[in-house]
């Protein structure tokens, strides 16, 4: 089903911990949603009556809980970018808060926007110059492709299987109901609601678990994809342990990871790093090792940030140079490890690095073993974030929000089924909400509904003359 005219929302700024994040809402329900979540500084003000093209200060609230202080800009259609009612919420609490506000907006009736959807609406509503049509089409095309890929790759194996299983169970029950409605003299629904209720409750629990795991960030690798590289024995593991051992660090296991590489997610002062520890990248004859090396090269390719650990207790080697060349164009921090050991004796010449790195690239001395210099590293990291020097893969956040939206709606639909059963509604009413749940789950794994139901009925149930 194509929804061209509902209300959509997305994060309009680059998702980073930099200062302000803007959530943009567009569509006929934009104001209604704002009313539900915004409390103006002047508490007596009626949100519906707030003036067009003005900025208001107040709180975003989820029920009684204040989520963030923010500034709200109201642009009523047709005097807006999309020519629809548009509301922008500027919040300033960093990634987590921006994300939280977006989810709140979605919960209150908006749909997570598809890639390029604001621009598309602007165009279709006659806002954008005709000459830009091709560009808009390109945008939709490429962004959708990207979102699709992201959607699939970000789903860790376990979740995708769980959703598939859930969908199979749901469609089976729908098909049963429909077969019984289609051929009531053949399939009886006596006692069925009780059985369905049991199933439905089980599904609700599963949906809830999945929803919660989205909140805990355990499913989608959001955050900065960070790759630690360095020669064996450069101290990568010790550094990782030192980082994870920080009192401030919140360490999360990423469930269902299929990679062999060690992967950890650590959040420090609101910045989440997804850290992959790689094998070395030197050329090798060893078959097993060469697979590891290939993988390491790929990890470097896809990382947002490289942490290059250099062992200062030995001379700079050819292998180090090779790594430096490979990460030349990546955002990186060079960590000079083993600062506890004197470098004069080792012959490590820091000045030799200049040839391979720009002046902006931070070089920090640390001792992974004793935890020295970790503070400096964290400060530098924050510094880079706030100056926008690290690009976070924004699609991850967007996909994440969309998935969560779909799961929340699945959950709601399953709850509706429960209520319908308990209220003693006729069976055909259950299928309306069951089908919704099936469809929403499909969005997460990129599958549409099409002829699924008819196929299920024909293949699983025996009807006919």
């Amino acid at each position: 089903m194509i929804n061209e005219f509902d209300t959509i929302a997305a994060i309009a700024t680059a998702v980073s911990n930099a200062g302000i994040g803007i959530i943009r809402i567009s569509g006929s329900e934009a104001m209604e949603i704002l009313v539900k979540i915004f409390e103006p500084y002047n508490k007596k003000a009626d949100v519906y009556q707030l003036e067009n093209h003005r900025i208001y200060y107040g709180n975003i609230k989820d029920g009684e809980e204040v989520v963030d202080e923010c500034i709200v800009l109201i642009m009523k259609g047709p005097h807006s970018y999309t020519k629809e009612d548009v509301v922008e919420i500027d919040c300033h609490g960093g990634v987590t808060v921006v994300y939280k506000v977006l989810n709140l907006v979605l919960k209150n009736g908006a749909r997570a926007a598809e890639p390029g959807e604001f621009t598309k609406r602007a165009f279709l509503n006659g806002r954008i110059d005709l000459s830009q049509a091709e560009a808009v089409m390109d945008l939709i095309d490429s962004k959708n492709e990207m979102a699709r890929k992201n959607s699939m790759t970000q789903l860790k194996g376990g979740l995708s299987d769980k959703i598939k299983q859930l969908r199979e169970e749901i469609i089976y029950q729908i098909a049963f109901i429909e077969s019984a409605l289609d051929d009531p003299e053949h399939y009886s629904l006596d006692g069925f609601p009780e059985k369905l209720l049991e199933e439905d409750k089980k599904w609700i629990t599963i949906a809830k678990e999945m929803l919660d795991s989205y909140d805990n960030g355990r499913i989608i690798a959001e955050g900065i994809r960070t790759c630690i590289v360095g020669k064996p024995n450069a101290g990568k593991s010790s550094f990782l342990n030192a980082l994870l051992g920080e009192e401030r660090a919140i360490v999360t296991d990423i469930a269902g990871t299929t990679r062999d590489t060690l992967e950890e997610s650590v959040t420090i002062d609101g910045i989440t790093l997804n850290i992959v520890d790689t094998a070395g990248i030197r050329d090798t004859e060893d078959k097993v090792e060469s697979i590891g090396v290939e993988r390491a090269k790929k990890e470097i390719e896809s990382a947002d940030l490289i942490l290059f650990l250099m062992d200062t207790s030995v001379q700079i080697s050819e292998e180090d140079i090779e790594i430096l060349q490979r990460i030349r164009d990546k955002k990186k921090i060079i960590l000079l490890n083993k600062s506890d050991k004197a470098t004069e004796e080792s012959g490590f010449e820091q000045s030799a690095l200049k040839e391979y790195i720009s002046e902006e690239t931070p070089v920090i001395s640390i001792s992974a073993k004793y935890g020295d210099g970790i503070d400096n590293f964290i400060m530098e990291l924050k510094n880079m974030m706030f100056h926008g020097r690290i690009d976070v893969n924004q699609e991850v956040y967007i996909t994440n929000a969309r998935h969560k939206d779909a799961l929340a709606k699945t959950y709601e639909s399953l709850e509706c089924v429960e209520r319908s059963i308990e209220a003693g509604m006729p069976e055909d009413f259950f299928t309306i909400d069951l089908m919704n749940a099936y469809e929403k789950l499909g969005l997460i794994i990129g599958e549409s509904v099409e002829e699924d139901l008819v196929n299920e009925i024909f293949s699983k149930f025996c009807t006919g003359k």
Partner: protein
């Protein structure tokens, strides 16, 4: 050599359920119409199951009637048993089904055709289409006669190059041994029409006197008769009903079938056509649902004045001797005598993607088609297409725009949209689950949805329309009144509620609120509603449903609003999909094949993704500005 040459507005080819509706509609709209049948004895023939209606099919019949078609009236005149299915379920899936007296059904319809002004019924086989520059000009018959026409409706059913099979036996005939139409397929191909080959099947007919009914379960009709036609009241059509009987296959039956599978033309690979998955033969059931110990069978009378009975649930194309053996394993059929063998039938039909939503061929102007010829199955599916094809063929003659029902208006709209838009690899059957706005498309409100349209078309006369308006007004007035009738928590009220198993009132309420309670309804609250005026059952039913399911109905209405927006974005006929950059190749191919009428229709084509639709919309916007 001199040939017969005649001139008509509309020619209808085939007098089955689609053809009859098409011809009647065209003639009633004032077009000079001729309808051809291969045999005068096969008008509105029911060559398979002896009933009309059933789940979702009952909806179609009600819709046909609401638009001014004939099927509902004809079955009301000739039914021998009537049943409302799914009565314990929601109102959207209540489905009316009637057993027909097959001969009476057929003769009554023939009588109607023969006594309709502007309509000629003619026995002859149409062998050729006359097409000039992509425009239909008429048809030619086997004898060489030429019938000029402004428009033609093809409703050839299962007759095109038909062959019937059981075991090693192959008959090159249409259903029931009737003459097949062996020439028209070639003419269609010559005119660039893409054909499919489908198959279907039917069970044996048995002699009533050889059946032991004592060991079967009797299946009665309903006491309360609901007519199919909105023009009839219960008392107009009430009659004594004839029972059906329920029995079962068993392990022995299944063993015989399994042992003889190699002699089935389907399993032996003789049949090329694609059969319907929803209507499997008994061989299919035994193979595909191997774990089932038994399958139920309905023994249904074929009419009042015949001993033939239909063995519902046991269609087959196994050889004659196997048929005898397997039927005789069934409880009550131990000594059964077969009157007609079960058989499978194979026939040519078209890929309906070649049609517009008006059921006119995209590439042959003035040529329309309906029924099994379009790849559907079932009498009701056929009839409703015939009706629409006939209406639009007539309107074309009259210079009027076609009538197109959409998915939010009628099951007919769903059916035609599915056929024309989606890929269809088996005979298409209607199902309530195919209708996304099922709660709105109920059988009980078909008149509310469609009678105004039927009136505008000209198939519903003023008298019937005025009655309809009165009914509508009564419903609206009464619903409004119920909203304002306040009910206090007095003793009478509390006692009534208690007796109906409902919670007592704490404070005042309205009648409307009380009706919404699952255990209550409009009817049962009459004792505490002294001002109520007497209303007909069907009016009361509308009031009850509209109040009880108001929330759900509103939700679907909102969805319909969204749906309409996409349906109203029309795609210009001149669009060149090759020019639309960024459209994926698969989408271009599919869009070219279907040539959708609107963006909404385009979005339902399998293989066209939401981002293709976005791209298409932007392209259309661009085009609009360039003009």
């Amino acid at each position: 050599m001199k040939t017969v040459e005649e001139y008509y507005d509309v020619v209808v080819v085939g007098a089955g359920h689609a053809g009859c509706e098409a011809a009647l509609a065209a003639a009633r709209l004032g077009c000079e119409t001729i309808i051809f049948t291969v045999s005068m004895n096969s008008v509105a023939l029911m060559p398979c199951n002896p009933n009309i209606g059933g789940s979702s099919k009952g909806h179609l019949v009600k819709e046909i009637d609401a638009l001014g078609g004939e099927m509902g009236k004809n079955i009301d005149k000739t039914y021998i048993q009537s049943k409302m299915l799914n009565k314990s379920k929601g109102p959207a899936v209540h489905s009316l089904r009637a057993q027909a007296d097959k001969d009476a059904y057929s003769m009554t319809m023939r009588y109607t055709l023969q006594n309709t002004d502007h309509l000629t019924l003619r026995q002859a086989e149409v062998t050729e289409l006359i097409v000039e520059d992509g425009v239909i000009k008429g048809v030619k018959t086997f004898s060489g006669a030429i019938y000029h026409a402004k428009t033609v409706v093809l409703a050839t059913g299962t007759y095109l190059k038909a062959r019937c099979l059981y075991g090693e036996v192959v008959n090159y005939t249409g259903p029931n041994g009737l003459q097949a139409a062996n020439y028209l397929s070639q003419s269609l191909k010559d005119n660039g029409v893409e054909l499919y080959r489908f198959k279907t099947g039917t069970p044996a007919r048995i002699d009533k006197r050889s059946v032991n009914f004592d060991v079967m379960e009797e299946q009665f009709g309903d006491e309360k008769i609901v007519p199919f036609s909105f023009t009839n009241k219960e008392e107009d059509i009430k009659r004594e009903q004839i029972s059906c009987w329920l029995t079962y296959t068993n392990e022995e039956t299944h063993k015989i079938i399994r042992d003889n599978l190699d002699r089935s033309p389907i399993y032996a690979g003789v049949i090329e056509g694609t059969g319907p998955r929803y209507c499997p033969s008994i061989e299919d059931k035994v193979v595909r649902f191997a774990d089932r110990k038994r399958h139920q069978l309905f023994i249904e009378p074929e009419g009042e004045f015949t001993n033939e009975m239909y063995v519902g649930g046991m269609s087959s194309s196994l050889p004659e001797d196997v048929q005898y053996a397997m039927y005789r394993t069934v409880k009550g059929l131990e000594n059964v005598k077969i009157i007609r063998n079960a058989y499978a039938i194979e026939y040519d039909c078209i890929n309906p993607n070649q049609l517009k939503l008006s059921l006119e061929f995209r590439n042959i102007q003035g040529l329309f088609s309906g029924g099994q010829f379009n790849g559907s199955s079932g009498y009701e599916e056929a009839a409703c297409q015939g009706l629409i094809a006939g209406i639009n063929a007539a309107r074309k003659c009259l210079g009027k725009d076609p009538v197109i029902l959409d998915r939010s208006q009628a099951y007919i709209g769903v059916l035609i949209d599915d056929l024309v838009t989606k890929e269809n690899h088996e005979p298409y059957r209607m199902m309530t689950s195919r209708a996304e706005y099922r709660l709105l498309l109920r059988q009980d409100n078909a008149d509310m949805r469609l009678t105004p349209i039927g009136h505008e078309i000209g198939l519903i006369d003023d008298e019937r329309y005025d009655k309809f308006l009165l009914k509508k007004e009564q419903i609206e007035k009464e619903i409004e009144r119920l909203k304002h009738v306040n009910i206090g928590a007095n003793k009478t009220v509390q006692e009534l509620l208690e007796s109906l198993g409902s919670t007592k009132l704490n404070s005042g309420s309205t009648l409307e609120e009380l009706i919404k309670r699952p255990e209550l309804n409009y009817e049962c609250l009459a004792p505490i509603d002294p001002d109520r005026e007497p209303l007909d059952d069907d009016v009361a039913e509308q009031i009850n449903i509209n109040i009880k399911y108001e929330g759900y109905i509103k939700r679907q209405l909102q969805q319909v609003e969204q749906f309409k927006k996409m349906e109203n974005k029309l795609i210009p006929d001149t669009i060149n999909y090759d020019e639309v950059h960024n459209l994926r190749t698969e989408a271009v191919q599919k869009l070219k094949a279907v040539h959708p009428h609107s963006v909404g229709q385009a979005s339902r084509i399998s293989g066209v993704s939401p981002s293709d639709i976005s791209v298409l919309m932007i392209y259309m916007e661009q085009m609009r500005h360039r003009k």
